[in-house]
């Protein structure tokens, strides 16, 4: 199959692409990352080790990956979208088979010194898969129910694997990312509601997959007073840290709750708490504002794209980014159960950082290729291709 011949060539050349990189967006991304370095420096009691230095190196690597992805021809991305999805799924399966166990959950595979969490990459894989799929569906076909069978499978396969790990947070995020893309692709609202109804119906089944500690977390979230020294203890301590920060905070490295270890994992999941304790409401709102700017600008980039694939890909990344931020901040404020979702660009951790940088690479790529008017739809699924040919 000669795919190349099917594409409508209108994209910029490589050097042209380099000049069209959106540096403002990159600057917006660097801001929270730098705040992250500062917080990790503070978390270590004023030391670059063990976290801040490693995080800077990771961000550096991620930065190059991002720029590299931005410069790839969007047609190549389109072409390898399903492969990207399939590779993520395979890695997820690999975790199932040979993953090491950490904190009672199998979540990562060791590649040299780097612990890769395929569940993080899976988010990008899912976005790619869905964006690719919906870019091949015509406007009219969007009304057909069977069109949604494939996306539901694309969503449920990784969700099932992630739940088996078990990683409740990522599973929920994958479902939400998937639904967001399906919604954005233009599904009829009543079908969307049907879909949601289906999901709610699946909750009791999903409950069976949960490990005891996850059930405890969820139940504990529903009734926090039941267990003030167990799992709820962390949330209470986190709220104390936030609240005691006040408007301007206790100052860097002065956060008593964080530095006296009342907070669990202050460098990863609870870094927002430490930030709000040390930098106060001002710092916390600053971070939220930066996130809003990234989300807003990312959405703008999505609008500017002329092709469905580009639009869904970029907005999918932005929604993922938003979900990270929203779930993490809600979690540390006790508005959602503790599910282990990092604060994007700030929490210490390689996989989430890499995932986001790859994602932002796609967003930048979409920006560079925003003026491409059309790419020939190429269905990978024979049934749909047949549908298309009948119509035309």
């Amino acid at each position: 199959m000669n795919l190349e011949s099917g594409f409508y060539l209108q994209g910029p050349r490589f050097l042209e692409r380099l000049t069209k990189i959106n540096w403002l967006f990159i600057l917006l991304i660097c801001c929270p990352a730098c705040i992250g370095f500062l917080m990790l420096y503070s978390a270590a009691g004023g030391s670059m080790d063990p976290w801040a230095k490693a995080q800077i190196i990771r961000f550096g690597i991620g930065f190059f990956v991002m720029v590299a992805i931005a410069l790839i021809d969007i047609r190549i991305i389109l072409r390898f979208s399903y492969w990207g999805y399939a590779l993520s799924l395979l890695l997820l399966l690999a975790v199932e088979i040979l993953g090491s166990s950490a904190m009672g959950a199998q979540r990562w595979i060791a590649i040299g010194n780097f612990h890769l969490q395929p569940s993080e990459l899976m988010k990008i894989g899912l976005i790619l898969g869905l964006a690719r799929y919906f870019s091949g569906i015509t406007h009219e076909n969007m009304s057909k129910i069977r069109v949604y069978i494939i996306p539901i499978i694309l969503i449920l396969l990784p969700v099932g694997l992630v739940l088996r790990q078990p990683d409740l947070g990522t599973a929920v995020l994958l479902v939400l990312i998937g639904l967001a893309i399906v919604f954005l692709a233009g599904i009829r609202l009543w079908k969307m509601l049907l879909c949601l109804g289906f999901l709610v119906g699946a909750v009791p089944i999903a409950w069976q997959f949960l490990r005891e500690y996850q059930k405890v977390r969820v139940l504990n979230f529903i009734n926090p007073e039941s267990d003030s020294l167990g799992a709820g203890y962390h949330i209470l301590q986190s709220k104390i840290a936030l609240g005691s920060g006040g408007v301007f905070g206790k100052g860097l490295m002065e956060g008593s709750q964080s530095h006296l270890n009342f907070l669990p994992e202050k460098q990863t999941d609870f870094i927002f708490t430490m930030l709000a304790e040390e930098l106060g409401l001002a710092g916390a709102l600053g971070v939220i504002l930066l996130y809003l700017l990234i989300i807003g600008y990312g959405t703008f980039i999505s609008w500017r794209s002329n092709i469905t694939f580009g639009r869904l890909l970029s907005i999918g990344v932005i929604v993922t980014f938003f979900l990270y931020a929203f779930v993490n901040i809600s979690m540390v404020m006790g508005l959602l159960p503790v599910v282990g979702v990092p604060l994007p660009l700030i929490s210490y951790g390689g996989s989430a950082m890499l995932t986001l940088m790859v994602g932002f690479g796609f967003v930048l790529n979409v920006w560079i290729n925003r003026d491409i008017k059309s790419i020939k739809r190429q269905g990978y699924f024979p049934v749909l291709n047949m549908l298309d040919s009948k119509k035309s």
Partner: protein
Amino acid sequence: MVKKANAPDHNKLVSRRSLIVGGLQVALLGGLAGRLYQLQVVDSDLYKTLSDENRINLQLLMPLRGRIFDRFGYELAGNRQSYRLVIIPEQVNDMQLALESVSRLVVLSEDDQSRLIEEIKARKSFIPITLRENLTWSEVSRIEVNAPYLPGVSIESGKSRFYTFGSETAHLVGYVGSVSQSEIKKSEDPAFSLPGFQIGKTGIENRFDDQLRGQAGNRHVEINAVGRVIRELQRDDGLSGDDHVLTIDIGLQQYTMSRLGNESAGCVVIDIHTGEVLSIVSAPAFDPNSFASGISKQEWDSIIENPRFPLNNKAISGQYPPGSTFKMLVALAALESGLVGANTTHFCEGHIELGDTKFHCWKPGGHGRLSMEGAIERSCDVYFYEIAKRIGLERISNMARRFGFGSLNGIDLPNEKEGLVPTALWKKNNIGESWRLGETLIVGIGQGYLLATPLQLAVMVSRIANGGIGITPKLVRAIHRNGSFIQESGKAATPMNIPSEHLAIVKRGMERVTNSPTGTAYAARIENPRFAMAGKTGSSQVRRISESERELGVQKNEDLVWKERDHALFVGYAPLDSPRYAVSVVIEHGGGGASTAAPIARDILMEVQRRDPANHEDLRIPISAQYHNINSGRKNS
């Protein structure tokens, strides 16, 4: 193939939808911002408080217990540096090996080791666990020398109570002990819950516990989530307990103790003008240091099983019939009644008959005709039977009460006993029988129901010797509190309204007891007239002598088993011309007052005068060797 026509419509739909999603995102993050405002601004104060509560831990600091000194500044009870061996589990790799190396240097019993293993499991790993308390100096050295090879093992120092003079002040100073659970509940003092906190259990330690204890200090420390102390934020050292200066002369106390030897006895020496107790001794004694540091079962059993009750403070809790030492009060009561004059004489024929009962004098055959002074000198029983019969019980018991019998003297020691002065009403209420005249006769010679403590005897003789001033015993001379020095005034002593001529008669009688060749204690006199003493012997029966035994000849005390021998008593004062010191000696089952108690009393009265700085010149003792000023005496601080 290419669907261009629908693309713009579809793009519009996607744009619309992304606007919806974007709006939702902004709304949700805005909601989080609102929640942040709620937490960090509206409820901030609450969370700040909670944060400080988390962070700051209040720790109590053990107050330093007040010290106890004798009148010249010798430390009777103080706080000694004590050393304990601790191990911090988290600094030890192999606990078994560490314990083995430690046990090669200091003794660690099997029990200790298994207890430690338990404790180490139960506690957080950074909390030091005590391996041994009260290390000796050589054990401390052995550990310190080997410190480099014993990671995690260290010596901690603390304070433990120490009684310099041990058993010589056992009953007087008392001892401290751990606090019981019920005492923790009763007390409002937070220090009670401190591990290792001790409170006074007996003696001065108990009576002045509130003042000696001091106030617990505290420190605010910053702790982390697992309780490890990160730094100290604030410290209040609290207040040390008050130092108490007693009226005791420890030199005299030591002398008295050694002079009593192995007797079971109580002895009190009082300054007759001030009531200051110079020595108060109960024998046998025990070592209070064993109690303060945790007594062994073996030692406890030997104390408990001792038939002479070492734990009992006989000087204030031992109640004995005063015997003939009571005769002065009968004489005073008789003189006051006017029914008997100073010149009233009576003929002692060895016994007196009342109804069909014979009351015998201690001297078979009798003393012949005696005046009151003579009756005291020779301790004639018949004379006092006679005047007791004439004046009646009421007058005798009233006089006894005025001299401090039958009620607490109010010395600053716990467990003081009242003794007993019987009345007809008392007998009716307690025994259920009415009073008989014969019993009045028995009271007349200080026997029967009558009971008194050695302290009461000393107070009684002091009040006679000082010319009828109602002094009360005083034990605390001064208190050091927060650097200021408070003199204890004591209770005001008021005249007892006893005519001095009556007292003079009694005192002459007492002088003759020890200084007239016919006196009962002539053998125990002080020959140097400058220091000569007056006194009165007493031997109180603890068994009844039957008529048949009396006919065969009363058994000598030496022939009786210890428990059945008479109590030997002596009360006295010295010097004669200007009395200053009074003494009472009660030797349980000591036999005769004249033979056993009087020589001891004489030696003690001689010693107290010898130690009196005013007499040093006469005795050619260099002042520097004897005189200690209270302030210069605080050399142990």
